[in-house]
């Protein structure tokens, strides 16, 4: 299934960008800022803005997939965005021409937009460095971040690692299976102390910038998570911000336009779920519901079911792969094992808001209340604390 319009794929003209943009904003849920202002935003793309906007893209503990994903954008593409939005990318370690000190000297010290990809190691700051400090030591990314963030107009967390800490902060299994006889960071649950910008995967631990941080615009860090993130989530959020609009954010400061929908609610296999028809195993070719092989769609929020990936080519379930919950904090621990339904329970409630929409019906083999808490909660808090979290948010 594809929504791609080949006519719009390769254009670089402003009119083409406008058409792409309108096509794209048409896919987001109603009532969001991007929809409300779509024509205005698109118009702005056609106009010369007042000078260029300086961008700094930092990489912490990263795999670079979010950069590679951003390169896959088509509505607009990255190169269209750079020219149309008049972005001056003063630093991006992977695509910039400069290297070494010339690279760090090119970096804006007060960027309009600071984008951060990757987690930030805090217990072992030297676990992600670039450039040198004045006394010649490797300069930790956490220091760069603490310098730049207060000077930035907007700060964005790109991908799950920058938003919540990512897999680097997932539970270290070594103490459970190894016979370590000496103390060291290898005994810690989070070996390098990896964190997101404002959040971690634990309720009782904030991100590097702290819960009260706001950039000069007055907005908190705007998170566009995902492992990897979607190019539209990055580039359209940038478009929204540069046009002076405040995106409507959810409890993890994600734009609701993209992260409002529940994957389960927009699933093309939902009919099988409602009838209780599930696959036999991964790759059985039946096209039935993947819940029993670990699909986390009932717990994961994003609109990729309709937006799709790689210019409207496909999405996880379209290739028979269960959702891994990659838009959610701590999914590496809360949504695993990946190929098992959470705690092997039947259909569970999703959260307070969406519980009523979930068709439990005949397929409910049992109401996995504890499982639901594990999946929906914030961090690995005990059930009681979890209830409190849900009620206060």
């Amino acid at each position: 299934m594809t929504t791609a319009d080949t006519e719009t794929k390769t254009g670089t003209e402003a009119t083409t960008t406008r058409r792409n943009f309108l096509k794209l904003v048409g896919g987001v849920s109603a009532g969001t800022v991007i929809t409300q202002y779509s024509s205005e935003v698109a118009t702005a793309l056609e106009q010369a803005s007042n000078g260029s906007k300086e961008v700094v893209w930092l990489q912490g503990q990263t795999c670079s997939a979010c950069t590679m994903s951003t390169l896959q954008g088509t509505s607009p593409s990255l190169e269209e965005a750079i020219s149309q939005f008049k972005l001056d990318v003063t630093f991006h370690p992977e695509i910039m021409a400069e290297t070494g000190e010339a690279a760090t000297e090119a970096m804006s010290s007060s960027p309009d937009i600071l984008m951060v990809e990757g987690a930030i190691p805090t217990k072992i700051p030297s676990a992600a460095t670039f450039g040198r400090t004045e006394d010649g030591h490797h300069k930790p990314v956490v220091d760069w971040l603490l310098e730049l963030a207060p000077e930035a107009e907007y700060v964005m967390g790109i991908g799950t690692c920058a938003c919540y800490g990512g897999w680097q902060s997932a539970n270290n299994g070594a103490p459970a299976v190894e016979d370590f006889d000496e103390e060291g960071p290898w005994m810690d649950a989070n070996v390098t102390g990896a964190k997101g910008l404002q959040y971690t995967h634990r309720e009782d631990d904030a991100g590097v910038l702290g819960p009260d941080f706001t950039a000069n615009s007055g907005l908190p860090v705007i998170n566009v998570p995902g492992c990897m993130t979607h190019p539209d989530y990055v580039l359209l959020t940038v478009a929204t911000l540069l046009n002076g609009h405040e995106p409507d954010l959810d409890e993890f400061n994600r734009p609701k336009a993209f992260y409002g929908p529940l994957v389960h609610d927009q699933c093309s296999r939902r009919g099988y779920f409602d009838r209780g028809e599930f696959v036999e195993h991964v790759g059985d070719g039946s096209g039935k519901c993947l819940y029993n092989v670990g699909c986390k769609g009932p717990y994961c929020h994003c609109d990729d079911s309709v937006r799709l990936w790689n210019d409207g080519t496909s999405v996880c379930r379209n290739v028979g792969a269960p959702c891994i919950g990659c838009m959610e904090p701590g999914f590496w621990d809360r949504m695993t094992p990946f190929y098992d339904p959470i705690e092997e329970q039947g259909v569970a409630l999703t959260d307070v808001e969406t519980a009523g929409k979930v068709a439990v019906g005949a397929t409910a083999a049992g109401l996995g209340a504890h499982a639901a808490r594990k999946a929906m909660g914030y961090g690995d808090a005990e059930p009681d604390e979890q209830d409190e979290t849900e009620s206060t948010e």
């Binding site: 400069e98 992600a128 290898w186």
Partner: protein, 520 residues
């Protein structure tokens, strides 16, 4: 003695830096610093084997298929030996071979145009090749478009890319419908048209020599050949010279127990094709100069997970130093072509001067040659896949055993090693090609391939050691990696501004070919 430090190395995947000791205008010692540690080998412990491919895929968002693939091979190998798994269905084997080829071709396109291409562009090096200018050159922009099309083809089976989901324990999750196969063909043919026909290469070479450009013969190949000639012009056939020892794990299983590209070791001009057991017993890792405890080194199946020791004296890298029978080994496209004894259009023999020479230019040529081979193979293997056939017969995590997955990333030999007890992972090790090519020294002081290949190199302009940067990128390193060029106070006080758009490649920056490593 002046010290040059280049930090960060940009246009590579990851954090890396390099420190060079320079005496009389020549590098006497190079240190390659891998500047990132994340701890994957600890995070996957105490989890079921089927989780490992999903986790370890996230080691790299550029090599996003190969870690998932190597991890699958490791756990499938362990399950086979435990007697609970009979192998992946034929169609799954074919789909994996197809997707791995597409991923490598994609990687090469991104590498040649976005990462290494700017080193030979007009904007960065004053070469006159403005088609290669970052973000603005026509060739660069066309390549960006082509790589998107290629990943769209990949996503037909992958679901999304990077980080596709379709590789699953036991085979694949995607059904190869006729429609998806056709869509992949369409996308690959778009990319193929961009590259141009293979048999036009001699004519393209002539065009490039004469400064002519015929878009009908293929823009992609024209730009790639132009890049190779610019590298030759810069003297890249004689700098970045490594020891000429190559290692390849082999890739693309043929269905009869062999691999279409076999495993190979090339040492002292001799090519051998070792068995898997020979390879796995020959590999050891040293942490002598790494920020890990000493017991984090050893044989991959026996060593401790990497225990960070950030204050360790004399350490300078978050990478370990893997060795093959004690030797440093180069790995990558060049190694693959040498172990298969291929030199399409004799480009390495003619332009490179010697098909087996380990040089910055030969690494670039090999990547270009492999891209053409891959494009031709992809169109062939697409025909072999039977629509709607079986791709997976199921999987169980409930077993104990050991397994090794030997594979080839686009940038070289990759291995995953796993121990499983009662359905739980109890040990896990990953050895990446970038550790082979750009790791630190080992306990004997033997440098890595990159460190060795720049020692002896001439550095005329301390502020712009562009040929060192060209060499580090010729390995297509993947690690968020940086190269430090620094100068201790009192000896040399200039700050370094390498490879900036304003910089110009220094014409007098001639290499110092074949000079012995000088550790004094």
């Amino acid at each position: 003695m002046p010290e040059i430090e280049i930090d960060p190395t940009t246009r590579i995947e990851g954090h890396h830096s390099t420190t060079l000791q320079v005496e009389d205008g020549h590098v006497t010692e190079a240190k390659s610093h891998i500047d990132m540690f994340r701890g994957m080998e600890m995070v996957v412990l105490d989890r079921p084997p089927s989780d490992a491919p999903v986790f370890t895929q996230r080691v790299c968002g550029v090599c996003f298929t190969v870690h998932r693939m190597s991890s699958l091979l490791a756990i499938e190998n362990a399950a086979k030996r435990a007697g609970v798994f009979g192998g992946v269905p034929e169609t799954a084997r074919q789909m994996r071979n197809l997707l791995e080829r597409i991923a490598t071709l994609w990687n090469h396109a991104v590498h040649m145009f976005a990462l290494v291409g700017p080193d030979y562009s007009d904007a960065v090096a004053g070469t006159g090749l403005d088609r290669l200018d970052p973000m603005e050159g026509e060739g660069y922009k066309r390549a960006l478009e082509a790589q998107r099309e290629l990943l769209q083809g990949f996503a037909e089976f992958g679901g999304k890319a990077p980080h596709p989901l379709t590789y699953a324990p036991g085979g694949m999750s995607a059904t190869p419908t006729a429609g998806k196969l056709q869509n992949i063909r369409d996308q690959v043919e778009f990319v193929s048209d961009w590259l141009g026909p293979t048999d036009a290469i001699p004519e393209i070479i002539e065009n490039v020599r004469n400064g002519e450009f015929d878009a009908d013969l293929g823009e992609g190949l024209h730009d790639i050949v132009s890049l190779l000639f610019a590298a030759k012009e810069a003297g890249a056939d004689d700098f970045g010279v490594g020891p000429g020892r190559y290692y390849c794990n082999g890739i693309y299983p043929d269905g009869d127990g062999g691999r279409e590209i076999p495993a190979g070791i090339y040492v002292d001009g001799e090519l051998t094709h070792p068995e898997k057991d020979d390879i796995t017993s020959a590999i050891h890792e040293s942490t002598a100069r790494s920020w890990y405890t000493d017991d984090s080194g050893g044989h991959p199946m026996e060593e401790s997970p990497p225990k960070p020791d950030p204050e360790k004296e004399d350490a300078y890298s978050w990478g370990k130093a893997p060795r093959y029978d004690g030797m440093n080994m180069e790995t990558g496209s060049l190694a693959r072509l040498i172990v298969t004894e291929r030199d399409p259009f004799d480009l390495r023999a003619t332009l490179g001067g010697d098909p087996t020479k380990s040089s910055t230019l030969n690494r670039l040529i090999a990547r270009a040659q492999e891209s053409v081979l891959l494009r031709d193979q992809i169109l062939d293997v697409l025909d072999d896949i039977e629509p709607d056939s079986t791709v997976n017969r199921g999987w169980t995590d409930d077993f104990s055993g050991e397994g090794v997955g030997l594979w080839e990333a686009s940038r070289g030999a990759l291995s995953h090693w796993v121990k499983i007890e009662d359905g739980t992972i109890t040990n896990y090790q990953i050895i990446t090609p970038t550790l082979w090519n750009l790791g630190p020294r080992d306990e004997n002081g033997t440098p890595s391939i990159f460190e060795q290949s720049v020692e002896g190199m001439a550095v005329e302009d301390y502020e712009n050691p562009i040929n060192v940067m060209r060499t580090v990128r010729s390995f297509d390193p993947c690690l968020a990696c940086s190269v430090h060029v620094e100068s201790p106070a009192g000896t040399y006080s200039e700050e370094v501004t390498p490879a900036s758009p304003a910089g110009v490649a220094t014409g007098g920056d001639r290499p110092y070919a074949g000079q012995e490593v000088d550790e004094q």
